[in-house]
Symmetry: C2
Subunit: 83 residues, 2 copies
DNA sequence: CAGGTTTATGATCCGCAAGGCATATTGACA
DNA sequence: TGTCAATATGCCTTGCGGATCATAAACCTG
């Protein structure tokens, strides 16, 4: 179940899922990333068009990375859905 | 050859490769994305910690999207390299 | 090497994210 | 339902990205 994102909204949702999957509160994550709970909240709810640097701080704190792929590429899950 | 990024520098390089792969100049891409050539240049050279929204504008113009994956995960290509 | 195209960069203005601190809301659970 | 943890949000300041106008520097290519 690969997470993909095309908008800040998508990304906020993905980050929230990832944080919860690691059982972290916004504050714990913020501490790890050297940010503020306020900022984490803003990003997860896409209440603000965050800065790229901030996102990478969060990704690092969550031990995640980004892959850039063509848009229309179907995922294995999509293909399964056809059959 | 999946492109991944952990820093703005990485992402700038990936975007530049993607743009060249589509034979676009910075100006053409900027037009498509509703940005300025100046901005595209800044992002590709990571001369500035861009805004997330701007990145998504570029990705859309290049018909790309982002996938968020665990850091240490090996790619199929990596696995092939072993054998 | 000259001339044109592509990319980098100077300078100013404006808007907004994040820093910083506090409080209000919401959510979960005994 | 009362209570504590977790999340959302109000406010002010400061720093910096992007818009917008340039021009300079680098890169092809004949």
């Amino acid at each position: 179940m690969d997470q993909f994102a095309r908008t800040t909204k998508d990304l906020g949702a993905v980050l929230r899922r990832a944080r919860k999957a690691q059982n972290l509160t916004q504050e714990q994550l913020a501490d790890r990333a050297g940010l503020w709970q306020r900022t984490v909240s803003n990003i997860e709810t896409s209440a603000s068009g965050a800065k790229l640097d901030t996102i990478f701080d969060l990704l690092a704190a969550l031990d995640l990375e980004i892959r850039i792929v063509p848009r229309s590429k179907m995922t294995p899950a999509d293909i399964e859905d056809i059959f």
